[in-house]
Amino acid sequence: MRPLILSLFLLAAPAFGQTATGDLGLVVERATGSVLVIDRSDRASIGRITGLGDVSHASLTYSPDERFAFVFGRDGGLTKVDLLTQTIAARTVQAGNSIGGAISDDGRLVAVSNYEPGGVKVFDADTLALVADIPMAGKTIGLVDVPGRRFAWAVWDTGEVFLGDFSAAEPVVTMIGNAGKNPFDAVLTDDAHTFLVGLFGEKGVTAFDLWNPETPPQKFLTDYGKTGEDMPVYKMPHLQSWAFTEGQYALPAVGRHEILWVDRESQTQTATTEVHGQPVFIIAQPASPYVWVNFATPLNDVVQVVDSRSHEVVATLTPGKAILHMEFAPRGAEVWISSRDDNKVLIYDTKTREKVGEVAAEAPSGIFFTARAHQTGL
């Protein structure tokens, strides 16, 4: 009897549209201009939304109700997709070439970081109508949301860092300092206190105090790797989802096969971990002492797990070919790993570090669970 009741319920549920989005997510399929809708609890894909343009390097962010996602395409496309109906709710091609974006803390505004023409454009989250257009002197990178309907970003070409306040009718954009040569990405600490800007054109990371934006920026890690020759960087590291753990930052060394550990208070380097390759993402496993790392091509078939207490590699996994991204279940039980060249998303149990499932996907890159809707700085 029970199977019958259960199956009736399953048949009835979609008809009533009673789908909750709290355990859903999207996987960017970079070659096909689509996103795969995934159900984390079922470890399955439940649909595909197509027609998003060039989504190589695409990222996305969620509305506060976890119903809509805003997908930032490489070709300047900004697409609002509806997870419930699995359709495109709105779409605009707002620039020639863009790199990412963020949603304001109140969910009202979506900001996009553009390469060509360089600058930031801000849109109404309901309609995707243009609210503000802020041209910049170059490619904008590292855009994050800051509490108080604000956004912060940096400019690759000039090193300038800006804080934009969109809480009033007219935006107020303030240059809060210069990070240094060629900032490649930036990240906001979980307390929204420090905006950390990573540099490619010179050694170092520059910290901006967003609780007191008048405070002069502090540059640190300016001398790492002076003992050896730098190696080629075949993929720019990412700082979003940068690991903050055990009172430390875990940072990707640029041009070196190392993770650098920096004390969060003193901003001094406390340790170095030799790893498999050039780190791309270093992501903290929630509610644990571990960080997981993936690597640039050609060493991108490996994922390593590092203990933030001992700074030692505690596991080396070979999940598949061309591992591009990792996304943890919000409370850390599982990690979903995209293997681009195997056309799969692999699901690992973080306790056993064994594979527990997989989902077919076309050249998957970024994986984004809806829980991101409630995190500052994403």
């Binding site: 190589s56 390469y115 080629p232 091509t297």
Partner: protein, 101 residues
């Protein structure tokens, strides 16, 4: 798809320009789109790196492009690919970029 095949046939028919096996050529094409694409865009219309479309490279000569691929451009984000590619393979990529639709 037919366009891709004809381009492939054209490139395979250029042994004098670059001595690369068909299997390796397929791997190189994948590498251009996916790995070069992470900076130059999957459609090669540019990103952090410059556009690499046929139009954008119209004035560039293949040997010069091959050298940039092999040695990179100092003080930019373009890395040297010499550790991963032979000179023939770099030249194959240069010709591929210049003839790709």
């Amino acid at each position: 798809m037919p366009r891709f095949v004809s381009l492939f046939a054209l490139l395979l028919a250029m042994p004098a320009l670059a001595d690369v096996s068909p299997d390796r050529a397929r791997a190189l094409e994948h590498m251009v789109l996916q790995d070069c694409g992470s900076c130059h865009g999957l459609t090669l219309k540019g990103g952090l790196g410059r556009p690499l479309t046929r139009e954008a490279l119209a004035q560039a000569d293949p040997e010069g492009l091959a050298l940039i691929i092999l040695d990179g451009i100092p003080s930019t984000a373009m890395p040297p690919w010499r550790p991963l590619l032979t000179e023939d393979e770099a030249l194959w990529i240069a010709n591929y970029l210049k003839s790709k639709d």
